[in-house]
Symmetry: C2
Subunit: 198 residues, 2 copies
């Protein structure tokens, strides 16, 4: 079974187009996606950043929003610049790490990204995360309650630590074994690498 | 005449594969390359960095060198990790901005990049820059003397200021009118944009 680990953060702009297409692109190559939610905040803090580099470095930020417009237009997905950036994806990431292996997980991930980047909704709130769960037929109360458990919190913390150990410093990132690929721009390269793995 | 401005810095890693292919890729689309040397140092300093971000942020640096191996291998160009990074490209950039419109300029640019990233030579020295000039049939003494003139120094300074004004924050960058594309990964997009410009 050929696999790629897709490491994503719900607040990350370029994770949005990547998350929307990774499953379909992987399927074309016979590759299975392992969904790995993590948090960029603790990683950025270790680099001395208390905010997104796109906010800290103005020219880089201006460029990113324009580039993201081009990328989303080319991919045919909506983009409405979030009125709050970056949004806190902690709760959604707890759901995504706790329920990573569920059939409904990819739909949930895409629903959260759409809410954040296409509908400008506050994905840090349990109301919005709950409505994304309900939309895909899940019991929002039960899922959110489980996501708030100490075990789920530990799980996301451990997963973020694993990201650091694997050399991840930004999102999205893709791992094929120990081979790391960073960015939406490397998604196809990562899948090609996975497809030719032994 | 369809044109793309190719903004490059001789110390920049991803500028290397971009510089080696931009002219051939542009020709395929009927686009003319305008070569724009500039310096990243003053731009990085304004962002609070006194070194390359690839040195300041270790995980990012480790990834970049591995990624660059993959990129150069795919493009079929040599890569020997420079023993000094980033190398100071000031002198070469003065030559490249002063003689930007000469027929021999693209060969000179590629020769400097090859020296830095494939041959691990000290491109900050006038000996190496001079030998790159001699190799392409230029009078090294005359060119280096002109490059050291106050006018040439002003020219590069003004060009770096123009880069900032255009929103450039990294290298390589490509400009089609006011439309900015950042990175070797956006080279094809920039040329496609130029090719369909009115």
């Amino acid at each position: 079974m050929r696999e790629v680990e897709f490491w994503f953060e719900f607040g990350s702009t370029y994770s949005y187009p990547a998350a929307m297409r990774v499953e379909a692109c992987a399927a074309e190559r016979g590759v299975t996606v392992l969904w790995r939610a993590f948090l960029l905040g603790p990683i950025f803090q270790k680099q001395g950043w208390d905010d997104s580099p796109f906010n800290l470095y103005a020219a880089k930020g201006r460029y990113m929003w324009r580039d993201l417009e081009r990328v989303c237009a080319a991919q045919g997905i909506g983009l409405r610049r979030p009125s709050v950036f970056p949004r806190n994806g902690l709760l959604a990431a707890r759901v995504a790490s706790r329920f990573a292996a569920e059939d409904w997980l990819p739909d949930f991930v895409r629903s959260i990204y759409r809410a954040n980047f296409s509908e400008d909704l506050d994905i840090s709130s349990s109301e919005i995360v709950g409505s994304c769960l309900a939309k895909i037929g899940q019991d929002a109360g039960a899922v959110l309650s489980e996501a708030a458990s100490p075990n789920s919190k530990d799980l996301l913390r451990a997963q973020t630590a694993r990201a650091v150990d694997a050399g991840i410093f930004g999102a999205p990132s893709l791992l094929v074994g120990a081979e790391l690929f960073w960015g939406n721009d490397r998604l196809d390269d990562a899948l090609a690498w996975a497809a030719r793995s032994p």
